[in-house]
Amino acid sequence: MPAPFDLLPALLQGLWVTLLITAGGAAVAALAAFAAGLARLSRSVWVRIPALAYIDLFRGTSALVQLFWAYFALPLLGIELNAMTVAIVVLGLNIGAYGAEVVRGAIQAVPAEQHDAAIALNFTEHQAMGRILLPQALRAMLPPFGNLLIELLKSTALVSLITLNDLTFQAQLLRGATLRSAEIFALVLLLYFVVAQVISRGMRWLERRMAVGRELGRAW
């Protein structure tokens, strides 16, 4: 293949790892975000405090420091995880902490009357949350979730520093082997950009899908 496309096969191999970590991290992040976001709204202090501690801990420190800590320091405490697990779990928990605030904010933004009306109709608290509040809040969560997904994609570049052969890692390998820095990094930036565009277009499509029927009034 003509330059610079001869570099593509090696880079696409790295891109696959990047996509795997993004997908795995997104799953972890979604779980963490809903668990911690809902826990923040709990009436019990014993549920609220651990959620708040998790959110502050992961939002207050640097993602790279978290990765290094889990990869280099955690084994010294007897917990040894492979690099892939560390990457998915740590990046997922990191983005999940930001997502938790999105979940909490979106649920709190649903008008209080919706909750009161559900209770008046003899819904239990759980039913009110699951059938009335969450479905409405979900729509408000989508745009910030899309942004977070792109943040997650970008943060996967950090895993190259804990030896995982993602797109950025492959770029560094190729740079060492060929010294064609400009072509390599231009291609890599372009690949990340394309994936990010796909994500943001996809999320916008999803937003439109979920807005169907909304114009018929407030009732879902």
């Binding site: 640097s62 790279l64 970008k154 950090l158 950025t168 770029a171 930036l189 990340y192």
Partner: protein
């Protein structure tokens, strides 16, 4: 292996010195981001699509590619063009450039918040564009978004460890070196985490103060 307090105290001065580099990179990077973001935000509103459209895509591109790759790009590719930057300079420029894409968005929100009548009044008074921006729009657009800018300052502070990848001796790189020399990673890495947490939490409180002082609707 358990926590060693003596060792922790011994390495603390080195880490605090490294913290100065981290703070220096953050302050310089933020200064660049504040200026460049404003340039993007104003260029985005240019009447000529030849200016506004490329600005949109440049900002979109910077925002949707990883900071780490941008750091590598500046550090490894620019020398090919004859521009040789020190690791710290390359890191600061990359931080500033990356976050300018975010500050541009913040400024945009601030500018959009200025009532239309202000633009029309300036137009009616036949103000020059320079005078319009400096005397009418920016003084109203910027104060309400200062808390949001503060949030990005905190975010940038937490991204400075990425400079370790191009050997800048900031907090994380220093902790890594200590770990490599002594084979003890637990204390240096944990201390770095604690330092980041302490400063970020303090800084977030500071942003709350800004919010109370400048926030919208006061």
């Amino acid at each position: 292996m358990i926590w060693d307090w003596d060792f922790s105290l011994e390495i603390l001065p080195d880490l605090l010195r490294a913290l100065l580099v981290t703070v220096e990179a953050t302050v310089l990077g933020m200064a660049l981001a504040l200026v460049l973001g404003l340039v993007w935000a104003i260029a985005r509103r240019a009447r000529h699509r030849l200016i506004s459209l490329p600005t949109y895509w440049v900002v979109e591109f910077i925002r949707s590619t990883p900071l780490l790759v941008q750091i590598y790009f500046l550090f490894f590719v620019l020398p090919d063009a004859g521009i040789r930057l020190s690791p710290l300079t390359a890191g600061v420029v990359a931080l500033g450039l990356h976050y300018s894409a975010y500050t541009a968005e913040v400024y945009r929100a601030g500018i959009d918040g200025v009532p239309r009548g202000q633009w029309e009044a300036a137009l009616a008074l036949d103000m020059s564009p320079w005078h319009l921006w400096r005397a009418v729009i920016l003084p109203q657009a910027i104060p309400p978004v200062i808390p949001a800018l503060g949030n990005y300052l905190v975010a940038m502070f937490k991204d400075t460890p990425l400079l370790a990848a191009i050997t800048v001796l900031e907090l994380l790189q220093t902790a890594k070196l200590i770990g490599a020399e002594t084979f003890r990673y637990l204390e240096p890495l944990t201390l770095v985490g604690v330092l980041f947490l302490a400063i970020s939490l303090l800084a977030s409180r500071f942003v709350y103060v800004l919010e109370a002082r400048f926030g919208r609707g006061q």
